[in-house]
Structures are given as structure tokens and as C-alpha cells.
């Protein structure tokens, strides 16, 4: 469980030009939850990530991870429980060979050699990289590098995986495969996932969406609940997935589409149902 209470953070605290980045955030993320965080550039998402893994410490308020308070002196205990993957894999890949990089974290935990080998093997396998352990990282594509970075995070066997815009530099089909792999890890291992993204369509794939604006948590709910707030989201520089926007238009034109529609497949089902319904036949007949 991640528990965030009344969390505030300002860069350059105490100075005249202090910049508030988070203002009174309250958030609880249960074990195994699959959560997306959205917000415009500068809304405080990345600051939240840095506070979660004790790169920064709160100006006010508290964070606890599985009961352990995030504060100076506890950083390693916290980082055993939460692993982070950043936007640019080149920022966090430190070794030349894929397998060595994945082993880097567990080696630093001081685990015995056999345990490290086992973790490297299972993490590479989970990301579909089992054939690539001997490859040089510099020869990999950006999508493959991002998988190596996630394998490295996974080798720490964290309770929570935090992904800070890991798909920004990837083409959509590659990003979609990555999210689907992370979903499998979440389902099979019970690992919680906190995924930060600018893609509304990606956020719609999660169980819960948290929306940030100007350092505050402004919306929190299922994708269907969140993406109902079309105008609100647009007013804070965000958007809804294109299928949702389209449904919004169609409903405004009087097309009675039923249910929560988040993507093209949902829309296809809703239109198929509509075409079958007696009411629709009456209208068009």
C-alpha cells in the first residue's frame, strides 16, 4: 500500500522564488492496483514520482510505502519496494550487456550469485528478452531498451512499479505491446503499477486514472468516470481518447449510444447494438 497524506512540495523551499510543485495531495494506492496518472507538463506528476522513491523529500505531509515512512535514512528500504522506469532508457541503463544491466540492481542488494541469475533470467523472460541477454544495449531499438529498463526494475521484485512516461519515445504499436506486457506482470505477480502518460488512449487501458493539475489531485476514478469529464479535462490542458470525443459529438447529435465507450471496439459494439434496436429501426424506417 502506498499512502500519501497532505503531501506538499516546493522547489527552493524557504526562498523568495520558491516554486510550489505539489499542494496537499492525498492518495492511496492499494497493493496490485493498476493506475494511470495524467496531467499537463508541469502539473506535478514527475515530482510525485521523485518523492515516492525518496529522490526528494516532502516539504509537508507524509508518504508511507507498506507502512515504511519515506524519509532520509529509509531510502533503500523504500526503493526495494518501489522501482521506477524513466522516460529515456538511456538515463538508467548503466551496463554494456543486457543481462549485466538487469543484474545491476540485485547485485547491489547483495544477493547471492544464484539468486541474481534466477532473477535476471525470470525478468528477461517476462519482458520477452530471453534471447537478448548477451546483446549489447547500444545495438537495441528504443522499444527494446525500454524493455531492458523495465526488466531491471522488475529484477528488484518491487511491490510497485512506477513508469514515468516510458512510452513517450515509442511508436504507438510498440507502446501498446509494452503496456500489455506490464498488464500481464500486474495480473500474474500482483505487482502494483503507477503509469504516468500523456496519452489519453493509454490511460484508458488502466483500472484507475488519477488526474493532476497545478500540483493538486483533481480527479480520481475509473477511466469511464474520468473520461466523462470532457470539458473539465480540456480546460486543464488534457483531452479524452478520440473514441470518447467522437461519442460525445454523436450523443450531442441525438445518437442514443449506450454504455461506457472508451475505444473503437466499444464504439463498434455500441453502434452494432443500436443498429439492432427496435427504437433505431423505427427512427430510420
Amino acid at each position: 500500500m502506498i499512502e500519501i497524506e497532505d503531501l506538499s512540495f516546493a522547489y527552493r523551499t524557504g526562498e523568495e522564488d520558491a516554486i510550489p510543485a505539489l499542494r496537499g495531495v492525498n492518495l492511496r494506492i492499494g497493493p496490485g492496483q493498476f493506475v494511470a496518472v495524467i496531467g499537463h507538463n508541469g502539473s506535478g506528476k514527475s515530482t510525485l514520482v521523485k518523492l515516492l522513491v525518496a529522490v526528494l523529500y516532502p516539504t509537508e505531509g507524509r508518504i508511507r510505502v507498506d507502512g515504511i515512512p519515506v524519509r532520509p535514512g529509509n531510502e533503500w528500504e523504500v526503493r526495494e519496494r518501489i522501482s521506477v522506469v524513466f522516460q529515456d532508457p538511456d538515463d538508467q541503463l548503466v551496463m554494456n550487456r543486457v543481462a549485466d544491466d538487469v543484474a545491476f540492481g540485485p547485485e547491489n542488494l547483495g544477493l547471492p550469485r544464484e539468486k541474481i541469475a534466477e532473477r535476471v533470467h525470470s525478468s528477461l523472460e517476462a519482458l520477452g528478452l530471453e534471447e537478448m541477454g548477451e546483446r549489447l544495449i547500444e545495438d537495441l531499438s528504443p522499444g527494446q531498451k525500454q524493455r531492458v529498463a523495465i526488466a531491471g526494475a522488475l529484477a528488484m521484485r518491487p511491490r510497485f512499479l512506477v513508469l514515468d512516461e516510458p512510452t513517450t519515445l515509442l511508436p504507438a504499436p510498440v507502446a501498446a505491446r509494452l503496456i500489455s506486457t506490464v498488464r500481464d506482470l500486474n495480473r500474474s505477480g500482483g505487482m502494483g503499477v503507477l503509469h504516468i502518460t500523456h496519452s489519453m488512449s493509454e490511460a484508458a487501458l488502466f483500472d484507475r486514472v488519477v488526474v493532476m493539475d497545478e500540483g493538486k489531485l483533481v480527479l480520481d476514478g475509473t477511466p469511464a468516470e474520468i473520461f466523462r469529464e470532457v470539458d473539465r479535462l480540456r480546460s486543464i490542458g488534457l483531452d479524452v481518447p478520440p473514441a470518447v470525443s467522437l461519442v460525445h459529438r454523436l450523443r450531442a447529435r441525438g445518437v442514443p449510444l449506450e454504455g461506457d465507450i472508451l475505444d473503437g471496439a466499444d464504439l463498434r459494439r455500441a453502434l452494432a447494438a443500436l443498429a439492432e434496436s427496435p427504437a433505431y429501426r423505427r427512427c430510420s424506417g
Partner: protein
């Protein structure tokens, strides 16, 4: 392509191998020839490692060619004695990372850098800086004295674009112009580029891993795979081949993805739709006809 006009940029039999002659040699481009005509809006599209960045670098001659030639307005730019400075004054490039091309600390100074280096008189440069900053939506009085490093990523990208606009190049090359921007930043930048496209007689080259932006900004797609051109034609014709594009790991506009779903229930539903308005109209048509 307009018949009878000579191309503004022409690439002939271009091949390129990184680390040539070493065991780790990688063949990036295998024999590509390409003509870009004045006023065309071309997207060079391909997944990562398809060769698109190498191709764009070659088009603007930022790369010593392995084999092949680049012509600008019919002149071989690789020939000894060709005035490269002219090429830089004619082709403006906006790189993916604005930090790769912002050279000054102050916004106004950075935008003035190109014109000043090109020997444009101070008064004319000042005018161009004002005009360019306003064009990218950074008001001149408000932003000219700001520190570049205190701006957001989206704002820095605008500064980079303003710097290129101040050169008034007839050809504009943009590498992944919206990568990393949030939805509002992306929408604003697209509006800005669409406006420029309308107001100026620009030849536009957009390099991208996906077709979302490209489909709004460009009318011709050149699709690369493994260092070869595998498709080249009008945007809408290429978008019809959505299955092939998906195989190449090229992201499709979300409107095309939605339309492809709807084709499963409306067999004659067109998939090469570019805007929500077009999709909406097509759905209403199909419902009405049902």
C-alpha cells in the same frame, strides 16, 4: 507531384552504412532516390531504425554521403565549391530536441542568432525576431527577455521553431515535432504549423514514427522500412493500407483505428479518415442509411 517542374530537393541513389568497414557495420539506407517539389508537404515515416533520420540528415546535407548525390534546385550540393551556407539559408531544420539547437540563454538572443550570423542588418533582425516569436505564440514583449532554461519543453520547442522561422527559409524540416508534448501543447503546435502552412508558401518535410501529426500536416507520405522506400504516395491512399502500416510498427491516426473497427460492422466504411468531423459525418451517414 506537379508535372513539369523540377524538384527543389532531389536525392539520387543514396546509400549509407554506419561504421562501414568494421564488424559492427549497419546498413541504414539501401539505394533510395527521392524528389521533393516546391510547395509539397511530405512526411518521411518509419519505425525506429527504419533509416528515416539518416534520410532526413542526407536531404539537408548534415551527413557526408556514403554514395549518392543531393541536389538543391538542380545543383549538386556535394560538389566541391558548392556554397553550403546557401543551403542553410534555404532549408530550416527543427530537431526533435529543442535543446540541440538553442544556443543562447535569452529567448530573443536565440531567435536573433541565425539572422545575425547570416549578416542580416540589426533592424531587420529585430523585426524578424518579433514576427517569429509572435508567430509561434510567444508574445515578443513578454518573452524576448526570458531565460530559455526557465521555459517548459513545449515553449522551448517554440523558441527553436521561431529561430528557424526568423531565417525565412522556403523549406522547413521538422523532426518529430510533437514528441513529449502534453495534449494542449500538441494541439497548439499543430495549429501553429497549420497556420504557417496556410500563410506561407512553404515546402514542408516532417519526419515521424507515426502518422497522427503527419496526416494533418502533410499530403504525401514516404514510408521507409529497413532502409528502403516501401510506399510513396498521397496520404489518403497510403492510409488505406492500414494493415501493412501496422506491420511496420507505424502508429496510425486514431481516427483510422476507430474507422477500421467500424468497418467490421459497416463493410463499406472508409478507413482513410483524418479528422473527428469526417468520422462523425461518415457514422451519421451509415446510421441514416441503415
Amino acid at each position: 507531384m506537379e508535372a513539369g517542374t523540377s524538384p527543389v530537393i532531389e536525392l539520387k541513389n543514396f546509400r549509407y552504412t554506419y561504421l562501414e568497414g568494421t564488424p559492427r557495420a549497419v546498413e541504414a539506407i539501401r539505394d533510395v532516390s527521392l524528389e521533393i517539389h516546391r510547395g509539397e508537404r511530405v512526411a518521411i515515416v518509419g519505425a525506429t531504425q527504419s533509416g528515416k533520420s539518416t534520410l532526413v540528415d542526407a536531404l539537408v546535407y548534415l551527413l557526408r554521403l556514403g554514395s549518392g548525390q543531393v541536389f538543391y534546385e538542380g545543383e549538386d550540393v556535394t560538389a566541391p565549391g558548392y556554397d553550403r551556407g546557401k543551403l542553410r539559408r534555404e532549408i530550416g531544420v527543427v530537431f526533435q530536441s529543442p535543446d540541440a539547437q538553442i544556443v543562447e540563454n535569452i529567448v530573443g538572443a536565440d531567435v536573433a542568432f541565425g539572422p545575425t550570423a547570416a549578416g542580416i542588418p540589426a533592424e531587420e533582425t529585430r523585426k524578424r525576431v518579433e514576427e517569429s516569436l509572435n508567430a509561434v505564440g510567444l508574445s515578443y514583449p513578454e518573452y524576448r527577455l526570458r531565460y530559455v532554461h526557465a521555459l517548459s519543453g513545449g515553449q522551448r520547442r517554440r523558441v527553436a521553431i521561431a529561430g528557424v522561422l526568423a531565417m525565412r527559409t522556403p523549406v522547413l524540416v521538422l523532426d518529430e515535432p510533437t514528441a513529449g508534448l502534453d495534449p494542449r501543447g500538441r494541439r497548439e503546435l499543430l495549429d501553429l504549423l497549420l497556420n504557417l502552412r496556410k500563410e506561407r508558401e512553404l515546402t514542408l518535410v516532417v519526419c515521424s514514427a507515426g502518422l497522427e501529426e503527419a496526416s494533418l500536416l502533410c499530403d504525401r507520405f514516404v514510408v521507409l522500412d529497413a532502409g528502403k522506400v516501401v510506399m510513396d504516395g498521397p496520404a489518403r491512399e497510403i492510409l488505406r493500407r492500414s494493415n501493412r502500416l501496422a506491420e511496420l510498427d507505424i502508429s496510425l491516426p486514431e481516427t483510422v483505428n476507430v474507422a477500421s473497427e467500424l468497418k467490421k460492422i459497416f463493410p463499406d466504411f472508409p478507413t482513410s479518415l483524418l479528422t473527428e468531423e469526417e468520422l462523425e459525418a461518415e457514422i451519421l451517414k451509415h446510421l441514416g442509411a441503415g
